[in-house]
């Protein structure tokens, strides 16, 4: 972790180290020169007095410049280290082929916390440097104190409780954050409802404003209550520990005064003791704070390591030798595949044996919760089967590098994402390699029946989407959906095309026409790549076009066949559902 921060900026790290060390030495030596000045005056030594005066005057100016440049270097370090860790985090998450980080609450919590703690990461190097400085300060102070009388070395011991207890107060701080996490999350939800576009219509229509605000304040009262309680306890503990130190401090001064009265120390020594001892408290306070920072950095680091391990675990089975065939000859098979969601009570898919023959169009039907989307995500490699395996022409999907597999997969979902880029990019990211290829973009839009979206866009492919960006244009839900389909049409020779209800928001006729075109296109691809098209739809008018229909029920395949086969089956589930829908057209 320190490596990351170090890698962010070596030279600045070294520079910061030098500056902070110099600053520490200037601070400590100030008291020493003050003593020299007084002793010089007492002894009427002109040269000593003059040197001390010059050094004291110089130290003040030097302190200012060192403080200034130190804080600038530190700022630059923090910025860079923070950015670097953000990139690392994005990489770790991006490297995870499955959705497990996003769908396991425990992983997601770590991700959210780490994302918010990036700054603490940036402080890793600065706090290490400050730790060294405090050590320099403590050692040199000790030497100076010992020069007055060795017994004064006992002074730092009085600071030990403060240092030891700082771990405990940091624990209180962490506990506060954890206790406040739930109400904070609720407050954030309320904030989103009140200020973001998705809920704006309902908030106004249902007159939720006052209620949302009331709840927002109530959650914040809870949050404040938690923090105030724990913070007060922490401060009380800290105060008590400081009092312990003050006893030692006071003892030191009294001791030095006593030495002076006995003639064993000079007046300058007393001043040195008083000023130095005062600084010791600051140092101990600093080191307590540094310990807390370090602990927080470590917490952040452990979250990163945690997520990185999730990423590594999910790639464990990958075998560099496993390749994706250029064309499918047999097809895609599921062998006794089961899948259970993290924290799920039962299997979402159970013991599924199924072959999607090369070159076929397969429709998946079933009621809500039957496992259709789970099956689609398994095929895309977004989930790993809990048991069983999926093979691509006989090769276990789990062993294939997901990047290789996905370069031959395309997909469109009903709950598509909104990418607020330029229109061309929004579609083009479906195949990054062709993102600047206008002909491919227009072709994909056309295949998606989305050409009208392009026509309506004021600056064509260069139109910025999303109303909150400069010159950004907002689209209707249906238009965003069409662009999502366009994205899926970017790859021209996929082995697997997954269409998970992407047309549910469009009217039946449009859906039907789109599917007709896709199946024609698929027929042409059939020879070239043996591509499989998987389609999920509730509309039987579309479903019936498929070569193979899979009926899922409670996570199991209950029927399998062509439209004609399944209709002919007495008391069949497919036939029943078809009839339910057909009824409204009679």
């Amino acid at each position: 972790m320190l490596g990351v921060a170090w890698a962010a900026d070596r030279w600045r790290s070294i520079l910061a180290f030098g500056i902070f060390t110099a600053e520490a030495l200037v601070t400590v030596s100030f008291a020493w020169w003050l003593k020299v000045l007084l002793d010089g005056l007492a002894g009427r030594e002109v040269a000593t007095t003059a040197v001390a005066a010059v050094v004291l005057g110089g130290s003040i100016a030097a302190g200012m410049l060192l403080d200034y440049s130190g804080s600038r270097v530190r700022m630059a370090l923090v910025d860079r280290a923070h950015h670097l860790i953000e990139c690392r985090l994005c990489e770790a998450v991006g490297r995870t082929p499955t959705l497990e980080i996003h769908e396991t609450p425990a992983h997601l919590t770590q991700l959210e916390l780490l994302d918010g703690e990036g700054w603490e990461f940036g402080e890793a190097i600065p706090s290490l440097i400050r730790l060294t400085n405090v050590t320099v300060q403590v050692v040199s102070t000790a030497v100076l104190l010992a020069s007055v009388h060795p017994l004064l070395l006992a002074l730092p011991l009085f600071g030990l409780p403060l240092l030891v207890l700082s771990r405990h107060t940091n624990g209180l701080f962490n506990r506060g954050n954890e206790l406040a996490a739930a109400p904070s999350r609720r407050a954030l939800d309320l904030w989103d409802l009140a200020t973001k576009a998705p809920a704006a219509k309902e908030v106004r229509l249902f007159r939720l404003g006052e209620e949302l605000l009331r709840r927002f304040h109530s959650e914040h009262r809870t949050i404040r209550g938690i923090h105030v309680r724990l913070h007060a306890r922490g401060e009380a503990i800290g105060f008590a520990a400081r009092l312990v130190f003050l006893v030692g401090y006071f003892g030191s001064i009294a001791f030095a005064v006593n030495l002076a009265v006995d003639g064993e120390a000079s007046v300058g020594d007393v001043l040195l003791t008083a000023v130095l001892a005062g600084q010791v408290l600051g140092m101990i306070g600093n080191s307590a704070e540094i310990v807390q920072w370090t602990l927080r950095t470590l917490t952040a680091a452990s979250r990163y390591v945690y997520l990185d391990q999730v990423a590594e675990r999910s790639r464990r089975k990958i075998n560099a030798a496993a390749t994706v065939p250029v064309r499918l000859t047999k097809g895609i098979s599921l062998e006794r595949v089961s899948y259970r969601y993290p924290l799920g009570r039962g299997d979402a898919l159970h013991d599924v044996d199924l072959t999607l023959p090369a070159g076929s169009t397969v429709a998946i039907v079933g009621e809500n919760g039957a496992g259709k989307t789970t099956l689609v995500k398994l095929l895309a490699g977004l989930y790993h089967p809990t048991s069983g395996r999926i093979t691509i022409d006989g090769t276990d999907l789990a062993t294939i590098d997901p990047e290789r597999w996905r370069s031959r997969v395309s997909a469109a979902f009903q709950d598509h994402a909104r990418w607020e880029f330029r229109l061309g990019e929004v579609v083009g990211i479906g195949d990054i390699a062709s993102i600047d290829d206008e002909a491919t973009l227009v072709g994909a839009l056309d295949r998606a029946g989305a050409y009208d979206v392009l026509e309506a866009a004021p600056s064509g492919l260069r139109t910025q989407l999303g109303p909150s960006w400069p010159d950004g244009v907002d689209l209707s839900g249906g238009q965003w959906q069409k662009l999502a389909i366009g994205r899926a049409m970017m790859r021209t020779s996929p082995l697997l095309l997954l269409l998970d209800e992407p047309t549910a928001a469009l009217d039946a006729e449009t859906e039907h026409r789109l599917f007709e075109r896709w199946t024609t296109a698929a027929a042409r691809l059939r020879e070239a790549t043996g591509a499989v098209t998987v389609l999920v739809s509730h509309r039987f008018s579309t479903v019936r076009m498929a070569d193979l229909i899979v009926v899922l029920h409670h996570g199991r395949v209950v029927e399998l066949g062509t439209h004609a086969d399944l209709l002919a089956r007495p008391n069949g589930r497919y036939a029943e559902l078809f009839e339910l829908q057909a009824r409204s057209y009679r």
Binding site: I60, G94, A197, R204, R214, H217, V228, I432, P470, D474
Partner: protein, 623 residues
């Protein structure tokens, strides 16, 4: 993007505005913050004076012995030192407690102000007008991202340092007033210069950074996770994120590299002035013109005066102040929008005759083609109307117009002959129960997800006005709304009943499927009907439902809409054909109008589409 002098100036205004907002919101607490800072700044000077006195008296005590009068004075000085030190620690503890609490309060205050001003606008222009949307987004994003509370931490540190610096100036002045004056001016000028640099060095002012942080969100958040993986976008996004960040930072770092010469000149001046003062004082002391006590005070004072130029806490002040002008601008904009303080006629009991669209024209900002251009439509009260749209856009807009969420640019909408603009919007909205296609999935208990339909009578369970005697009644009404929407069996499965949070992000929460959510949303509309709404609007109510649930909904359609003015928007004929009347919209105009039978008989587009669909369901089903 390059920081202009005006940008620096603007930031000064931001800091002043921030302080103004703080003082107006929390006058007493701010005063307390300042008092604690003053105390924390003054006590160290007290300590310095006492140490100097100790040194001064010590020489006498060494001569006269502990039992002398000087010895007694020394003991009382030692006691005072102890008191000052304990007092200082106590003040610091209180300061930390108070500043942290005020930090959170100020954060909350500003967030709530943005929420409140955003929600005061009764229509959607803050989200749909590009200029307003950008401004709103800025205020919303910035206030949430840069906790304005940092202002408090910064002020607490800065005020303490200033107080300590001024107290130190007083110490120096007590020995040598002229030196104090010269150095005070010098330190203040130096501080101002060094600080001006920090404002420029602040990495947050730049808007392009927002684009960078958007790219980071795309890389990390669940919403984009699926497609990010399918299309292999991770490294592409990270590269763009890096490039955006680099772009911003390069300009920033360049902008920081100014004023080195002034810094050097000021450094030399500070050095010279301090050298001179200490050297002259030392000579005076050697000559016996200046006592050892005074000299000690002077040197300690000189050292502490450097705090006048300290920039500790400045970055917090800066970060905390950043969003304030955006918040204030947002509030001014909202204040200038007409109709935010609506007081029209009450709409209770409407409509009893009809809702009429008269020559309504509407187009979205930034779009050439209007959604509606001269729409005429009369919706009779107490009957059901289905709207079939042929070309995507426009159906949802119709509901937005009807509920006053957007206003027509020409023409008018009449409710029983009264112009919608003259009606009290809140009161009118109580008459309308609408579920949009993109209904909200509240990450709140099931109770709220349904009860929000009739917030005045069914939710707000924790308000002071809430009457516990009504609780069983509310519970019954919510369950009844759920039953009418076919959502009762969903409620039965929830582990904590109505109090189950419908989100797995929360402890004990449960995730629902798309179809289940749709039924919960429908239950919300039923709750609104229960609370007195007379118009029911359903926008694609079956988009997420499976075949069986869809069929089930048609079967209860008549029950759902009985006695209400019902408007159903759908492209599913099964839903549409049950309505008393169907209108077909194309390119913002009504092209066909009649009952299902009439339209099929008329042989128009409706009939063609219907037959086309119907033909696809031919085929004998085995019995």
């Amino acid at each position: 993007m390059r920081p202009q002098p005006s940008e620096t100036l603007h930031r000064g205004a931001a800091r002043r505005a921030a302080l103004g907002v703080l003082i107006r919101a929390y006058p007493i607490r701010t005063l307390l913050l300042a008092l604690l800072a003053a105390l924390a700044g003054l006590l160290p000077s007290g300590f310095a004076v006492l140490v100097a006195k100790l040194v001064g008296v010590l020489a006498e005590v060494v001569d006269a012995g502990l039992g002398s009068a000087a010895g007694e004075r020394m003991v009382s000085i030692l006691v005072l030192i102890g008191v000052v030190l304990v007092g200082l620690e106590a003040v610091r503890a209180l300061q930390s407690l108070h500043a942290t609490d005020l930090y959170r309060r100020f954060d909350e205050h500003l967030l709530a102000r943005v929420m409140s001003s955003t929600m005061r606008v009764p229509d959607l222009r803050l989200f749909e007008d590009p200029v307003l949307a950008a401004q709103t987004d800025r205020a919303v994003a910035r206030v949430a991202r840069y906790g304005p509370g940092e202002l408090i931490s910064g002020l607490s540190v800065r005020w303490t340092n200033t107080a300590q610096g001024l107290a130190a100036t007083a110490l120096v002045a007590s020995v040598w007033p002229m030196a104090a004056l010269v150095l005070l001016v010098l330190w203040l000028v130096a501080g101002r210069h060094l600080r001006a640099d920090i404002y420029r060095a602040n990495p947050f002012w730049s808007d392009p950074l927002r684009r960078a942080s958007y790219l980071k969100r795309l890389s990390l958040m669940p919403e984009w996770a699926k497609e990010l993986r399918i299309f292999g976008l991770s490294s592409w996004l990270i590269d763009r994120f890096r490039a955006e960040w680099q772009n911003v930072m390069t300009q920033l770092w360049r902008s920081r590299q100014v004023g080195y010469r002034t810094t050097t000149v000021l450094g030399v001046l500070v050095l010279a002035a301090n050298l001179l003062v200490v050297a002259l004082a030392a000579r005076a002391a050697l000559d016996g013109d200046l006592g050892i006590e005074a000299l000690t005070i002077l040197v300690q004072g000189l050292a502490a005066m450097a705090l006048l130029a300290s920039q500790d806490g400045d970055i917090w002040i800066e970060n905390g102040a950043i969003p304030i002008p955006d918040v204030l601008a947002h509030e001014r904009t909202v204040g200038g929008i007409e109709g935010t303080s609506s007081a029209g006629r009450p709409a209770t009991g409407l409509p009893s005759r009809a809702i009429t669209f008269e020559g309504v024209r509407f187009s979205y900002p930034g779009r050439d083609q209007p959604v509606y251009d001269g729409l005429d439509l009369t919706i009779e009260a107490g009957r059901s109307l289905a709207i079939v749209g042929l070309n995507g856009a426009g159906k949802t807009t119709l509901i937005k117009l009807l509920t006053g969420l957007t206003r027509p640019q020409a023409g008018r909408i009449l409710v029983d002959g009264l112009d919608l603009r003259e009606l009290d919007l809140v009161s009118w909205r109580r008459q309308v129960a609408a579920i949009f296609q993109d209904f909200v999935r509240y990450q709140l208990p099931a109770r709220d997800n349904i009860g929000f339909g009739g917030i005045e009578s069914l939710s707000g369970t924790r308000t002071a006005s809430y009457d516990t005697r009504r609780a069983p009644d509310v519970e019954r009404r919510i369950r009844e709304a759920a039953r009418r929407a076919g959502a009762d069996e969903i409620l039965d499965r929830l582990p904590l009943g109505l109090d189950t949070v419908l989100s797995r992000r929360h402890d004990g929460g449960v995730d629902l499927s798309g179809g289940e959510w749709q039924r919960i949303a429908l239950a919300r509309a039923m709750a609104a009907v229960d609370a007195g709404a007379r118009v029911l609007v359903l926008d694609e109510p079956t988009a997420h439902l499976d075949v069986r649930a869809e069929a089930d909904l048609y079967d209860r359609f008549l029950d759902l809409t009985s006695g209400l003015t019902a408007i159903v928007i759908s492209h599913r004929f099964s839903t549409v054909r049950r309505a008393d009347r169907i209108v077909v919209l194309d390119a913002g105009r009504i092209v066909e109008d009649g009952s299902h039978e009439e339209l099929v008989a008329a042989g128009g587009r409706y009939a063609r589409l219907f037959r086309q669909q119907a033909s696809r369901y031919d085929g004998e089903v085995a019995r």
